[in-house]
């Protein structure tokens, strides 16, 4: 379970980091808005107060103090909250307005903060004041309430926004975390089961289009391949053990006959000869195994050369003619008169075609004809060995390409059981295929290689 905890920790701390980042971002935004917004309001209020004061001074200059008194009184009446006025005589006596207490600052104040009593309430106000030409003192004041209200609304807005961001971020994050972990865990569980030896475990794939679906399906494909390889390997190991043990056992038997006291010289030599052949068979099998392994890994590609495949097949067919004839079969060589040039791994191709011919001579039976042909088109070259014999049942055609598979157990003494496996490996090295088809009657083996 600690493993589960650890697995969860990393995404959670990441989530916390994201939320903190969101909070910090909104705080920074607030500071910017607060400072610019505050300054704009402050400047506007100040400009308005100055303008009003100018207007009142003008009234005073042009229409006299009496009119000013009534204008100020009217201004107070129509003032919105936070706007205050005061008019004083040059001795400090209140003449009009809701500011009734005189302060010497009023004589010359440009947006000064002054604590004043308005009605019953004490307030801090921004004050613009001046002494007019007739000696009277005019004061226009603005309360700070507006600005505070603005401040407060920004603060609450910030708190609310942060709360929403945090809540939404956290819940979305947790949800995502949960979903991801759930799906990753499904894959991890499968991997764990595999690690514990259950090779058949597969992860459930819901949707192939999303990344998790793809991870899941490629994991499954990989597992499929691994299981296939392991099963193949097991089969090969078992068969290899069998295929090496049998000839070695026969060799041992022959050698004990050779050292037997009563044996004549000829018997001895025959026995040694037999043992020798068995050992050669073992070596040939091992060598074939290595060739297949090498061909399958594709390492031999650098050894490929451009050659005339038609000529190579014709030459090989000629080489195999005596064997085919001895098997009571007829060989028809049908290779083009013109060269069929492509890049191939010559030794491996020789061996592959040789194996196909050998198989025909061994398994097609007496009285049949074996036709060897080379066909080509723009992209592929096909070497076809077709006989008119008994053929191979359709359901067995895949199996015979595997290693150490012999369809007729009675014949297990001859051949390594690797013949078609080598042909298949050759096809694979040339990015082609080995197809076993029905020749109606007989078997038609098509070794198809990609032109390059």
């Amino acid at each position: 379970m600690t493993k589960g905890g650890l697995r969860r920790l990393a995404p959670s701390s990441f989530l916390l980091f994201v939320v903190l980042l969101a909070v910090a971002a909104s705080a920074a935004a607030l500071v910017v808005v607060y400072r610019t917004g505050g300054r704009i309001i402050y400047e506007r209020e100040r400009a308005e107060a100055l303008a009003e004061q100018d207007q009142l001074e003008e009234v005073d200059q042009e229409q006299g103090l009496a009119n000013t008194v009534s204008v100020v009184a009217r201004s107070v009446r129509f003032a919105t909250s936070g706007e205050h006025y005061g008019l004083f005589s040059n001795t400090g006596q209140a003449l009009a307005g809701d500011i009734t207490t005189f302060d010497p600052v009023f004589r010359n104040a440009d947006w000064k903060i002054v604590r004043l009593t308005i009605g019953q309430r004490q307030e801090r106000l921004h004050v613009v004041g001046s002494t007019m030409t007739d000696g009277a003192v005019l004061v226009v004041a603005r309360s700070l309430t507006n600005m505070r209200r603005f401040e407060r609304s920004i603060f609450y807005g910030f708190v609310a926004a942060t709360a929403i961001v945090a809540a939404a971020g956290l819940s979305a994050g947790l949800l995502m975390n949960f979903l991801i972990l759930q799906r990753v865990e499904a894959i991890a569980n499968t991997a764990e089961r595999i690690a514990n030896g259950d090779l058949s475990a597969r992860t459930a794939v819901s949707d192939n289009r999303d990344p998790f679906g793809r991870v899941g399906s490629s994991l499954n494909a990989m597992l499929e391949r691994i299981e296939e390889l392991l099963t193949g390997m097991r089969t090969v190991t078992d068969s290899l053990a069998h295929d090496l043990r049998s000839p070695l056992t026969r060799a041992k038997g022959a050698l004990s006959r050779a050292v037997h006291e009563g044996a004549t010289q000829t018997e001895r030599l025959d026995a040694i000869d037999a043992a020798h052949r068995e050992v050669e068979h073992v070596l040939a099998t091992l060598s074939a195994m290595l060739d297949i392994a090498r061909a399958e890994t594709g390492l031999s590609r650098e050894m490929m050369q451009r050659i005339d495949v038609g000529a190579l097949v014709a030459e090989l067919a000629d080489f195999f003619t005596p064997v085919i004839e001895d098997a009571g079969q007829r060989l028809i060589i049908d290779t083009p008169a013109y060269p069929v040039i492509t890049r191939v791994h010559e030794p491996l191709l020789r061996q592959a075609v040789g194996n196909l011919l050998h198989n025909a001579s061994q398994y097609a039976g007496e009285g049949v004809s074996v036709r060897v042909s080379v066909e080509e088109d723009l992209t592929v070259v096909r070497v076809v060995v077709a006989d008119t014999g008994a053929g191979v049942p359709e359901d067995q055609r895949g199996r015979v390409q595997e290693r150490f598979v012999r369809l007729d157990p009675a014949r297990s003494a001859g051949g390594s059981g690797l013949g078609l496996a080598i042909v298949a490996a050759c096809a694979k090295l040339h990015r082609g295929t080995l197809k076993l088809e029905d020749n109606r009657p007989g078997l038609r083996a098509v070794l198809e290689i990609q032109r390059s």
Partner: protein, 229 residues
């Protein structure tokens, strides 16, 4: 037996080296043995040998590099490469590096001997011949005709090719794998009877109607074309 041959064996495996040097001395060769690639290069380039048997995996300097260095220095001594279990490519790589023949471990001494004879004599008999002979057998390479005791032999091209190889290696042991590799360029034979089949067909035409057989089978080794059995 070849009494004049002088052979250098470059092999670090003491057992294999012992087996080879003893065997070669028994059949009349003078044998030098070194276990290190550098020593091999030094000896082979400073002294004259009729043949070199070179292991692939050597301490000091690997066999292929030694061969390349020798060929680059203009040393034309025939070289037989020895290697662990041969793979299709290994042989080609070895021959491309400048080796003349390639033998896979484990090998029988007779196989090694036959190949070494083949290599060392190939050099001396380099003159261009148009007629090959063995006893009353005569082969005209230009007319592509073979006769025995004056009677024309009706040979297929593949039989002609096989007989030509035997004639060029007259009196020498020729193994099945040598035939596979050198006549048919076929490296690995899972079906050992194929060479025997070819031989028996050739023998039918060559020896059947004559008193004295020319093509002899050597048990567990191979064949020899010779007037004497």
């Amino acid at each position: 037996m070849n009494l004049s041959g002088r052979v250098l064996v470059v092999e670090d495996d003491i057992d294999v080296a012992d087996y080879v040097t003893k065997g070669l001395r028994e059949v009349g060769y003078t044998v030098e043995h070194v276990a290190d690639g550098r020593d091999g290069l030094y000896l082979a380039s400073s002294s004259t040998f009729d043949g070199v048997i070179m292991d692939r995996m050597l301490p000091g300097m690997d066999g292929l590099s030694v061969i390349k260095a020798l060929r680059a220095a203009g040393v034309e001594t025939p070289i037989l490469i020895l290697s662990a279990l041969g793979q299709l490519d290994e042989r080609v790589i070895g021959l491309r590096a400048g080796g003349d023949d390639y033998l896979t471990k484990p090998f029988g001494f007779s196989e090694l001997h036959a190949r070494l004879e083949n290599l060392t004599r190939r050099r001396t008999g380099k003159s261009i011949e148009t007629v090959l002979r063995c006893g009353d057998l005569e082969m005209d390479l230009l007319a592509r005709k073979a006769t025995r005791a004056g009677k024309s032999l009706d040979l297929l091209p593949r039989e002609f090719k096989l007989l030509e190889y035997f004639l060029r290696n007259k009196d020498r042991v020729v193994t099945r794998t040598m035939l596979l590799e050198q006549v048919w360029d076929y490296r690995f034979d899972p079906h050992t009877s194929i060479i025997d089949t070819h031989i028996s067909r050739l023998r039918k035409k060559l020896d059947e109607t004559f008193d004295k057989p020319l093509l002899h089978t050597l048990r567990g080794v191979g064949y020899r074309l010779s007037e004497t059995s």
